[in-house]
Every structure is written in C-alpha cells, then in structure tokens.
C-alpha cells in the first residue's frame, strides 16, 4: 500500500478526540487494506474548506427560498435583493459579475448578474450541495479572484454506481406563505445510470412587520433528466434541466413603477460530459463538458412588455486533473470556450450583442516543506464583444471591444501547530466589463435606474490579499480572516451629476475608478457532535473610491453577526440564534443610510433512520420578535422591511 506522508500525518495534524470529517475520510481510508492509497490532489486547506460546504444536515438546516437566502450566514456573504425572488449573493461587498454562480461546475445561464430585479434561475430545494468557492480555485471558473463563485451541485449527470437512490423534500413557510416540493431518483444497472428530478414552488406575497408586501409572489417549476454510461475507463453522460419562474417585483419605491413589475423567465440547459479515468491513477481524470443554455426573460409593466431578454449561450470546458507528481501533488488545468448572444426587446437600452470568451486555467498545489503548502492558480484569456446596431443606442457607441484578461492567485498555508494553519493569499483580480456596462444608454424599468455604459472602458483590475488563521481544537474550531483589494480600475456606475430630464432621474455613468475594499470575518464553533453546541460568525467590509477625494462605495453591506446556541441529542437538535447588523452610514451619494437591526430565532431538527430510509424534519422560527429588518442592499428598504416573523418546516426523506 502506497501511502503519502500527507495522508499518514493527517491524524496528527488535527487534534485527537475530534477529527475534522475531511481528515476522518483519510484515516478511514488508511484503515482499509483494500483501498489503494492515493496522494492528495489538492491542498489540505482546500479540503478543510470543502468541509464548510453546505450539504446534508447543514444545508437542510439553512434552506430557504433562494440560494442567496440559504447561504446568508456564510462568512463574508450578504444578499442583494429586490423582493424575495430576486436575491443574489454578494461576497466581500462585491456583487454582479464579481460573483459567479455555477451549476454542476458549469455556468448558470441567466441574467441575474446584470440587474437587481433579475432572479438566479436555480431552485435551491434541489441542491445537494452549496459551496462558496474561495482562494485560488476561484480562477478555475472566473477571473474575479476578489469576489467568488457560488457552486450549486446536483449531479444531474448521474456518474454514480448507487443501485437506487431517491429523495422527496417538502418545504413550507408562513413568512411568504406557500410550499415548495422536490422529488428525485437515480438508478444504476450494468454500467448505465439514470436520474430524474422534479420541483415546484408556489409562494404568495411576503409578510413583513408593516403588512403584506404586494407583488412578491413566486411560482417556480423545474426538473431534470440525466443518463450516464460507463465503458471501461470512460464515462459518458448527458442531462437536460429546465426551470421556469414567474415572480413579482414590488413597486412604490422612489422611481419604481407604482404597481411593480411581473417577470416571467425560463431556462433550458443541455449538458453533455465525458470523463476518462486512467487505470492506475484514480485521481487523474480528463473531463470534457459542453453546455448549451437558452434563457428567456420578460418583464411586464401593466399588460405590456417592458423588457425582454433572450440569451443563447454555448460553453465547452476541458479539464485535466493530475496527481502523484512528487511535491507538486495536485495539478488541474484546462481550457474554456464560450459563445453568448443576448437579444433585447422592449425598453432595454442595450444593443443586441454577441460575445465570445476563451481562457486557459490551471491550479497547482505543492507541499512537503515543514508544513508549508502552496497553491498557485492562473487564468489567462480574452473576451470579445460584437454589438449590433440598434435604434436605442447611438451609432458612435456601437464599437467592437476585445479584452485580454489575466489573473493569478498564490496561496501559502503554513501549519503553525497541531491543527493550526496560517494562510496568506495574494491575487490579481480582473474582469471584462459586461455588455450593460459597455453599451447601455437608458433606464431599466424594474430596477429604475438610469445607467449609461461607456464603450471605452478598460477591463477591471486590482491586486488583493487575504490573511487567514484557522485552528481546529478538541473543543473549539475557529477561523479569522482579513482581506483587502486595491482596485486600479473598479467598474461601477457612479453619479455623473447629470439628469435625464425626460425621466427626471439622475444619470449614473459606468466608469473605472481606483477603489479600496477591505474587511474581515471570523467564526467559531464547538466541535462536539453531541451535547452543547455553539457557534458565532461575524463579517465586516468597507469600500471606498478614490475619486479625487475618498468617498464611500455604494451597496456595501454593514457589519453583521450570527450567534447560535443549541444542544444535540442522538436524533434531535435544538438551537436558538441571534442575528444583528449595525446601521450602514457609509454610503455613496444619492444612497440612503440603513438602520441596524437585531433578530432572534430557533431551530428544531429531528433525524432518524427507518427501513433503509433517512428522514429529516427541520422546523424553524425566524425573526420571532417580528423585528423591522432593513437590508442595506435591497432597493425596497425604503418601502417595507424584510420578511417578518416566519415559521418554516422542511421535511425530507432519502432512500
């Protein structure tokens, strides 16, 4: 049995008594003589990060209406919203195209990054795992090392040899009265496997402490079918996923449509994937994924179509993973090609545009020097924009643009004691402007902003660093991190001082400014698997522009805290929690400060096994005191508070 030093020392790296589950897997492997030990293919830190994924019981405890709501308690995560449906994660104060959302490793084709009223086209109840990707691995999917990637895993293509597996999940809540259900199953026989999944969600208008927030209902349906075949060392698979959503955006806020806007969208994803697994190196894989995405989105104001978007996107991704390369114990590299066409209708003041992207990426991990592990990653490529003539845009602004992009990330993680790690991450972040940032020349109805693009923009770029300390102890595990990014050219719409006199709206012009974004986060939790359980987490970020003078960046979340205290029995877990956010008074021009809030809640979880099936029941009471919660990143904060007292239940059976 070939055992690497890394694997053999895992037990001693982490203190006895409690082993982190990532370490436990290694130790269990070591105990089995039938398993051929393999070298690790990624840094230990990455494994520890994977342990923080939201999956299984943790995901069930946190699950809510949207992906953003579900990951709300993760470090450095906030929610940008415009009603409960249109909620998108914000990471370290960065939103929009700084934060990529992927489904099963490929892009989630929607328009959620472009406007606050656009929902993420993905049903959270069907997710098996949610991960906020951090560190060098961000560059496997995005150039935006300063932001992050939110990965949704469903395994639509069932590369699984589980003979039969299925689940039924049901979710209901009172804060936005309604239910959501999901059912899925996969089966395997003689090298063939199939998977099918269906989901539905119907929720009425959101209840707030000040009454019902009209036009916030959500109706989603979705599903997927997938099949895979194993032929020797090859695996082939394909899946088809569809998602439809009808939701409301409330009106009544400054500049908004008095009756709000109704949005209908649908998304179709066709994915084919091939894997090659070499005979003697199970960690070495060649993975080819192609996805065709179709997305359609209509916004109705009264009866007429206010805005319409049709997106046709194709993506090809080739990735090779290698292990057993001596001290360079993990290497992943590959290439990605992307073609995207966006057509607009109604009152959208961006020309139809085709864009193309090509990139090379690599992540390499090395270790073995007295507890020092290093991970280097890079992404190099280009994005090319080809706008078409349109009646809504000046001809002068229709200009082809090409962007050469490169980003790197170097992470040094030093073991400074038993179960203690000090990590320094240094990166260059970049991104190409979006088509809206380049070419838009008018208001957006539902979001009711008047933003002008700038076709002369350069790519966003900046340099950043993060220092993190992690400690895994017998009683407590904790981490603390501080981060800072100096943007040489941060792209954002800024108040231009001009007004559109027809609409009487201030004009925001997208431009690149120097900016500094810095913050910190910390979390601590008890490690006992039975008995008293406690956890706490806090995040803070501040953003400032250097625009002649220093000025605060808009849409920066305030300091927030989440603390939880509970008790774990064999099949039962009960906990109470408290959340608070401080007032946000660091605001950009034309942006209103937001008061702080404090809320409390309780969670009861019951889990048991019976007749080859696992059952879970999670009952939550959120915002028990019906507190007036205003989200600084919500445009509706001037109209109504967030969801009030909310009782919810998740029931799930897995067999």
């Amino acid at each position: 049995m070939k055992t690497s030093l890394f694997r053999a020392t895992m037990g001693s790296l982490l203190l006895g008594g409690h082993l982190h589950s990532f370490a436990q897997e290694f130790v269990q492997d070591l105990g089995s003589s039938t398993i051929e030990a393999e070298s690790p293919k990624q840094a230990l830190l990455e494994g520890l990060r994977e342990d923080e994924d939201l999956k299984g019981a943790v995901l069930e405890r946190e699950i809510s209406t949207t992906i953003a709501e579900t990951i709300r308690n993760e470090p450095d995560v906030a929610i940008r919203s415009m009603g409960p449906a249109a909620a998108r994660p914000v990471i370290k104060g960065l939103s929009g195209s700084h934060v990529e959302v992927t489904e099963d490793g490929s892009f989630c084709g929607d328009m959620s990054a472009t406007s606050p009223d656009h929902a993420v086209a993905s049903e959270v109840l069907t997710a098996q795992k949610l991960r906020v990707l951090r560190g060098p691995n961000i560059l496997l999917h995005s150039y935006s090392a300063a932001g992050g990637v939110v990965q949704v895993e469903r395994k639509d293509i069932p590369f699984s040899d589980s003979i039969f597996h299925g689940y039924v999940a049901w979710y209901a809540e009172s804060g936005q009265p309604g239910i959501a259900t999901a059912v899925g199953a996969n089966a395997y026989a003689m090298g063939f496997s199939v998977k099918g999944e269906l989901s539905g969600r119907r929720m009425r208008d959101m209840e707030t402490p000040e009454g019902t927030l009209e036009n916030t209902d959500i109706e989603n349906t979705g599903g997927s079918v997938g099949a895979a075949y194993a032929l020797g060392r090859f695996r082939f698979g394909a899946s088809y996923r569809w998602f439809e959503s009808a939701y409301g955006i409330p009106g009544g806020f400054i500049g908004g449509h008095p009756d709000g806007v109704d949005i209908d969208l649908w998304k179709r994803d066709l994915t084919v994937r091939g894997l090659y697994l070499p005979a003697n190196r199970s960690g070495d894989t060649l993975d080819i994924t192609a996805r065709i995405n179709r997305y359609h989105h209509k916004e109705y104001e009264d009866e007429s179509v206010g805005a319409e978007f049709a997106v046709n996107q194709e993506n090809l991704r080739i990735e090779k993973s290698m292990t057993n390369l001596g001290s360079l114990f993990g290497l992943r590299f590959g290439a990605e090609l992307d073609s995207r066409s966006v057509k607009m209708g109604g009152y959208v003041f961006t020309p139809p545009t085709r864009s193309y992207g090509a990139s090379l990426f690599a992540v390499a991990s090395a270790g073995g020097w007295r507890g020092l592990e290093m991970t280097f990653s890079g992404r190099l490529g280009g994005e090319f924009f080809r706008p078409q003539e349109s009646v809504v845009v000046d001809k002068d602004a229709i200009e082809d643009r090409n962007f050469a992009l490169w980003a790197f990330d170097a992470e040094f993680s030093q073991r400074v004691g038993i179960g203690k790690f000090l990590t320094l991450d240094i990166f260059r972040t970049t991104r190409a402007p979006t088509i809206e940032e380049l070419y838009n020349q008018g208001p957006h109805l539902a979001a009711y902003t008047y933003e002008r693009g700038n076709h002369k923009l350069d790519a966003e770029s900046g340099y950043g660093t993060e220092i993190e300390y992690r400690s895994y102890g017998e009683l407590l595990s904790w981490r603390a991190a501080a981060h800072g990014t100096w943007f040489l050219n941060h792209l954002a719409p800024r108040a231009s001082g001009d007004t559109n006199w027809s609409q009487l709206l201030p004009i925001y012009q997208v431009r690149g400014d120097e900016a500094l974004l810095f913050g910190a986060s910390a979390s601590v939790q008890t490690t006992a698997e039975l008995g008293l359980r406690a956890s706490a987490a806090a995040s803070y970020v501040r953003g400032i522009f250097r625009d002649g003078d220093w000025g605060d960046m808009p849409q920066i979340p305030p300091f927030k805290f989440h603390g939880e205290l509970g008790y774990i029995w064999d099949h039962l877990q009960a906990s109470a929690y408290c959340d608070f956010a401080l007032a946000q008074n660091f605001v950009d021009r034309y942006e209103e400060p937001t008061p702080g809030y404090i809320t409390a809640g309780a969670v009861l979880e019951i889990r048991w096994k019976l007749a080859l099936a696992k059952y879970s029941l999670v009952i939550r009471a959120d915002n028990i005191l019906d507190a007036d919660v205003r989200n600084h990143l919500s445009r509706l904060k001037s109209v109504m508070p967030e969801k009030g007292r909310n009782f919810s239940a998740l029931a799930k059976a897995e067999f």
């Binding site: 063939f192 099949a227 206010g306 607009m344 109604g346 809504v392 006199w501």
Partner: protein
C-alpha cells in the same frame, strides 16, 4: 436491470439529440426595442396660447400663476408642447403608440378630462390643493414626465356658473 439500461440509452440518446438540435435553436425576443421619446421640458397653453405652465430641465417657471380650476367645473382646454434640448418647442408624437398619461396626487380633489391628443381639461371635484404629474405614455410606460405640478381646486360652483362650459370646447 434491463429496464434501467433501456431507459438510460433512450434518455442519453434523447438528450444528445436535443443537444445537437439546440445548437441551431433560435431563442429570440418577441418584442422590438422601443425608442424613447426624449424631451427636456413641457409648455402648457390655454386656448388663447397664453402660457399656463412651463418647466424646462426640472425647473418650473414660477412667474406663471398657479393652475386653478373650480370644484364641479372643468377648466379650459390645455394644450401641450414639448421642449427639446435647445428649448425649442416640438409637437408630441403623432403615432398610436404614445399617449398622454397622468397621476393626480389626490384623486378626490381633481380629475383629468382627456379626449385624445396632446391636450386635456382639469376637472375639479372638491375644493383643495393637490398635484398633477403629466406623462408621455408609451406601451404603458412613461417615456417622459413632468415634476409635480401644483393645482388649486377653488370653491365649488353650480354647473351653469362654471367659467368654462363643455360645449365651448367644440366651438
């Protein structure tokens, strides 16, 4: 077992067929992009072409008397002209897609009587003071709007005492 194999092959083939078919699929928009009717100001005229209200780049002409109408009465016809970026008067769009829209601050005090085109009558309901926002509607959406225009609804008069009678409009 055979069923799963058959189902897998059928699903895999279907998805692959759909995949290649989707490459040529044309998901497009059903609505054309709409051009905005852009104006920078509004002039409202009484029938004798005396200026009733004027606003340019958000600033109203305060030298003009506040717009008034009696409760239970209709005002004289008010015509609208728009101002471009050079403060030059331009007519409103003549197509069917654009129309006059309005928002009354307190609909218990004031209503608008509109018979098409770029003009209207104020219709007083109850004595008091309210506001009016005029809009250029285009497919149900406002291309342009005025700031809030102050309107005074004076005391109620009997129909035959109203300064303006509806049939005068036809003359």
């Amino acid at each position: 077992m055979k069923f799963i194999k058959t189902l897998s092959v059928a699903l895999l083939s279907s998805v692959l067929c759909a995949f290649f078919a989707a490459c040529g699929d044309n998901n497009s928009t059903s609505t054309d992009q709409h051009e905005h009717f852009e104006v920078e100001g509004w002039n409202l005229y009484w029938p004798n072409w005396e200026l009733a209200y004027s606003v340019y780049r958000g600033k109203a002409d305060t030298s003009l008397e506040v717009l008034k109408v009696n409760a239970n009465c209709m005002s004289e016809h008010i015509s609208i002209k728009f101002l471009d970026e050079n403060k030059k008067e331009v007519a409103g769009p003549s197509d069917d897609e654009h129309s006059l829209g309005w928002e009354v601050g307190d609909s218990k005090l004031l209503d608008i009587h509109w018979e098409g085109g770029w003009g209207f009558h104020l219709k007083g309901i109850k004595e008091g003071e309210t506001t009016l926002i005029l809009k250029v509607n285009h497919h149900g959406h406002a291309d342009a709007r005025t700031p809030e225009i102050r309107i005074v609804v004076d005391k109620s008069l009997k129909a035959d005492e109203c300064p303006f009678q509806e049939d005068e409009d036809e003359d």
